[in-house]
């Protein structure tokens, strides 16, 4: 596990788009499914353009954080499905821990700055 952690840490910190893409792949999805999921979980704040998503998927495949996991649909509706690799899962968890500690700090800061706003 420590070896995997070592290689996973090299990817941190992730950009917001990359974190959201990996988070959406906790279930296997095709590219368009990732776009819809990211938009939904970010309350419409993050809309991934197709150029941005294609580049991110290419990089994540190259870094072996995700892998191709078959296809859905048939004919012109055929889409490639992506899934996390063990390395990708580890990166996602480690980044989550980093964000969680920042989030604890953030609520502490909020209190220190006065109040329950």
């Amino acid at each position: 596990m420590t070896n995997l952690d070592g290689s996973a840490r090299k990817f941190l910190p992730l950009s917001e788009a990359t974190y959201l893409i990996l988070a959406s792949l906790t279930e296997p999805r095709h590219g368009y499914g990732i776009m819809q999921d990211v938009e939904a979980v970010s309350d419409g704040r993050v809309k991934l353009g197709p150029g941005t998503l294609y580049g991110a998927l290419t990089n994540l495949l190259k870094g072996r954080l995700i892998r191709r996991s078959g296809e859905t649909g048939a004919g012109s509706d055929r889409r490639k499905v992506y899934a996390l690799t063990p390395l990708g899962e580890r990166v996602l968890v480690l980044e989550g821990e980093r964000l969680a500690s920042l989030s604890r700090l953030a609520s502490d800061v909020r209190k220190r700055l006065g109040g329950e706003r």
Binding site: A17, G31, A56
Partner: protein, 186 residues
């Protein structure tokens, strides 16, 4: 053809550091009632008369033929972008701009910078190849001063090197502008 023209052809050079400007120009054509019909490889656009519409045009420096591009085009199609044409590795896409809000194919500066870096990989490599060609032409000229045609070859090589060198510099400028705006956002 009678009366008013219903199609027109326009020749325009595409400068890779001006891809956004090119998109805006195509959007202006659409807005003034000229709908892009086709993109020809040697700099020609074919337009057709149509009702004026608000449309966003975007250019992407996409993957080459050696890649499986079905996934690439599929992502654009799924998110509502129509593929209008190809010029070299540049792909032209359009999508209706709803309520004056132009949709984007690159939604963060990092991925846009990565696109320009892919262009620079090609223009920069061309400069390097031309530089080595210029070197060998010059050394051939020194050892065979009477060889015919060498000055012309040299002029062409230097010219190509200058053109691609200029393009590379302009692209580097675009990237540094994007990086500055990224810092401002942060």
């Amino acid at each position: 053809m009678r009366g008013e023209k219903t199609t027109k052809r326009v020749f325009r050079m595409l400068m890779p550091w001006n891809d956004e400007k090119e998109g805006r120009w195509l959007a202006e054509q659409e807005w003034s009632g000229w709908h892009l019909k086709a993109v020809k490889c040697f700099g020609g656009y074919v337009f057709e008369r149509a009702a004026p519409a608000e449309m966003a045009y975007r250019l992407d420096f996409g993957p080459s033929r050696f890649h499986d591009r079905s996934e690439y085009f599929g992502l654009f199609r799924d998110s509502g972008w129509e593929h209008v044409g190809t010029r070299g590795l540049w792909q032209y896409f359009r999508k209706a701009a709803v309520g004056g809000r132009a949709p984007e194919i690159y939604t963060d500066p990092q991925s846009r910078i990565a696109m320009y870096r892919r262009v620079i990989a090609i223009t920069g490599a061309t400069v390097a190849v031309m530089a080595s060609q210029v070197g060998s032409t010059v050394s051939r000229g020194v050892s065979h001063p009477t060889m015919a045609g060498l000055p012309i070859v040299l002029v062409i090589q230097v010219l190509l090197m200058a053109v691609f060198g200029y393009g590379t510099v302009r692209l580097i400028m675009v990237i540094s502008r994007l990086k500055r705006s990224q810092r401002k956002q942060a």
